[in-house]
């Protein structure tokens, strides 16, 4: 069965898309990702180039302008949906984690759990 491209995003894909919520060029993306993640994620230049090509081909990002060698890109509606879907997936994972861990630790009731999730600013995941 053919593999669905970008069904789930890797960490680097996620941050590159996040950086492209505002228009920017290749070099700016690298710096922006590094800033967002406080240097934790460093996108390799080959990876960035391949990503921009693959995202463009899939209509996830669009080229906005070209100044000499510099080409700028921005997230399309399709890209935004993809990013939001990935965010939801990550939040659900975090909620599941919290639900399991908190229950294991506190052996609390459903109400305790809902309160704990509320304290963390998250919706209960049942």
């Amino acid at each position: 069965m053919p593999r669905e491209k970008f069904k789930t995003l890797t960490e680097q894909m996620f941050y590159v898309l996040l950086a492209l919520t505002d228009e920017c060029c290749g070099m700016d993306i690298m710096e922006k990702v590094s800033q967002i993640t406080h240097g934790r994620i460093k996108v390799g230049s080959g990876t960035l180039y391949n990503l921009l090509e693959q995202f463009s081909d899939e209509g996830i990002i669009a080229e906005t302008k070209t100044e000499g060698r510099r080409r700028s890109y921005i997230l399309t509606d399709k890209g935004r949906t993809l990013l939001e879907r990935e965010y939801d997936r990550l939040v659900t994972q975090a909620q599941d984690y919290n639900r399991v861990i908190n229950r294991e630790v506190s052996y609390g009731t459903e109400e305790d759990y809902a309160e704990q999730m509320g304290n963390m600013g998250l919706a209960p995941a049942y």
Binding site: R3, K5, T8, T10, E11, Q12, M13, C25, G26, M27, M30, K42, V43, G44, S45, G46, T47, L48, Y49, N50, L51, E53, Q54, T66, R69, R70, R71
Partner: protein, 252 residues
């Protein structure tokens, strides 16, 4: 004085980790890569030192240096920010080097690298393998149909002719040849897909890049069989054509 050295390029697209290893070893021995071609590698003598090499694959470009796509130039510029300098002029394999002691890898995301590599392999190899397998299969089926029709005609008339004898004789080489072609190309497609699935899982789970299996022995054996089989078939065809000409000339 600078010395130059040209070596045969024994590393196919599948052997990129081995090629990188070889280039780094050559740099330690005082030979720096100056150009990469499909069949040869060019080196120049220099002070022996530790140099990092890396490779990128470009499935979409078939350019000469009079027409470099701006996107590619942009990539070289981005790579230079991390100290990676572009070396080669081969259109689909781009070799970079970096003299920094511990550079950021060109490929920081294994899934993205696999996507790029898969794009190249599909374009350059898988399409060819698929066409070759289909052609071999069609020829085999056509020969089998001819065989059945000839047998039916022979059972009804009891007559045979030179053409039937010639095609049957050529079939004794053509059938095994086509079976080998069909088997080899199906095997390559299947093994590539198997590796790709496995590599994607490793890339997705651990951001680890599993190098492909090169099957260089199978490649060489297939090449030898193709050449020998091809030559035998050409000789057979020429011989039968000549005999057929003389038979028709003599009116037999």
């Amino acid at each position: 004085m600078e010395q130059k050295k040209i070596m045969p390029n024994r590393w196919g697209i599948w052997d990129w980790p081995l090629l990188i290893e070889h280039l780094e070893k050559m740099a330690l021995e005082g030979w720096l890569l100056t150009d990469y071609h499909e069949k040869t590698l060019e080196f120049v003598s220099a002070e022996p030192r530790r140099i990092h090499y890396d490779i990128m694959f470009f499935p979409d470009y078939n350019y000469d240096f009079s027409d470099i796509p701006p996107k590619l130039e942009q990539m070289w510029e981005i790579a230079e920010m991390d100290g990676w300098k572009h070396i080669t002029k081969n259109y689909y394999v781009q070799v970079f080097y970096n003299e920094q002691p511990d550079p950021v890898s060109l490929h920081s995301d294994a899934v993205v690298t696999l996507n790029g590599f898969d794009g190249l392999v599909k374009k350059k190899f898988v399409t060819v393998w698929r066409r070759a397998a289909v052609a071999a299969f069609v020829l085999l089926v056509a020969f089998c149909v001819w065989l059945v029709v000839s047998a039916l005609v022979f059972s009804q008339t009891g007559e045979t002719n030179f053409m039937q004898f010639a095609v049957l004789s050529m079939g004794s080489v053509l059938v095994p040849y086509m079976v080998i072609q069909l088997g080899y190309h199906c095997f390559r497609i299947h093994s590539y897909k198997k590796w790709l699935n496995y590599a994607y899982i490793a890339a997705q789970d651990d951001n680890q890049l599993i190098p492909p299996v090169s099957y260089s022995f199978a490649e060489k054996a297939h090449f030898a069989v193709s050449v020998v089989g091809g030559i035998i078939m050409v000789i057979q065809f020429a011989a039968f054509a000549r005999i057929a000409f003389w038979l028709s000339f003599l009116g037999i």
